[in-house]
Symmetry: C2
DNA sequence: TTGAATTTTCAAAAAATACTGAAAATATAT
DNA sequence: ATATATTTTCAGTATTTTTTGAAAATTCAA
């Protein structure tokens, strides 16, 4: 596969992957584009490359900035704003993971814990099964969550991955 | 929180979580409903409980069956089909993880490897940066993927989680 | 200041996704 | 075989999500 095809296919595929996992396609594609770009790109560059509107580009860039996985960059003597991606895979995946865990998973974990701890739920077969399942789910997700936190908090990842490999 | 509220909130929240992660809301809600139900439920039970159409219930149930996280159950002397959830958290999350990895992640991993190995990509600054980023991404995802496989392959999870905790 | 360049906003349009409901197909009892 | 219960299908509809594009706001150089 030659470069232009490989590039297009990568951006396209990254967009599809995003949308399958709840990330807007354009947002994922802009990240992909900036990830592989050796220099900062302006909004116009991005609009042209992905054939999207200014509004869409602007909103998507803002979201990527909010996630902290792209940065603004000014170029001397140029009024336009330019953007660069955080290129360290570990850093940006860490940020995405942390934010999504906090925004989307934590509310569920909190609800599970609240229900699991509730004294108001009775002893009928139905309510017992409910409590049992919620407790198991709560315990399981806490374990996974802890593991994720520890993975993410470890400085680089490679280290831990190697460590884990050793023990399996 | 009393049982009916807790139940409703759990099903609702599980549906929201699903849709944030690319799983149809109804499908997630049906799984939630079956997870906490002490007895098998019929299509009509599910339709009534979630106020959804027969068509929707049928299609969603089929998908959950395809994933292997719910099962059909017949009740003697009753013509209707009933459904039960796989209740072991480790088992059903393992199945979901495996299927989604295979369907959605593997194509991306394959593409990354193909590009990373391509001899057709040149030496311009742009193409070098491209190859570099693809290689890093490929290496990183392979590590994560291997870790995930090993986690999922370990018989129960608890074991490994404890092991990991020990070494952190 | 003024005005041109640039960015932001957001109502409206388009696209993607999910859901309904009734007809068709299938299964089962008599 | 026939009638009845049950399940499946899918065209049409509704809903949600995404995108556009042009007006408003902002920035900045002269």
């Amino acid at each position: 596969m030659k470069y232009p095809d490989a590039k297009e296919k990568f951006i396209e595929t990254w967009g599809i992957l995003g949308s399958q996992w709840g990330v807007n396609k354009t947002i994922a594609q802009i990240q992909a584009l900036l990830l592989i770009s050796p220099n900062p790109l302006s909004t116009d560059d991005i609009m042209k490359e992905l054939t999207i509107s200014r509004g869409n580009a602007n909103m998507s860039l803002r979201e990527l900035l909010d996630w902290g996985i792209i940065y603004k960059k000014t170029i001397a003597g140029d009024r336009k704003e330019y953007f660069v991606a955080e290129k360290d895979v570990w850093k940006w995946s860490h940020k995405i993971g942390t934010i999504r865990k906090q925004r989307e998973l934590n509310p569920v974990l909190d609800l599970l814990q609240e229900i699991a701890a509730s004294k108001e739920i009775g002893k009928s077969e139905e309510e017992q099964e409910f409590t049992k399942q919620i407790k198991e789910l709560s315990q399981f997700t806490n374990q996974v969550s802890q593991l994720a936190d520890k993975l993410f908090l470890s400085p680089k990842g490679e280290l831990l991955l190697k460590l884990i490999k050793m023990f399996i």
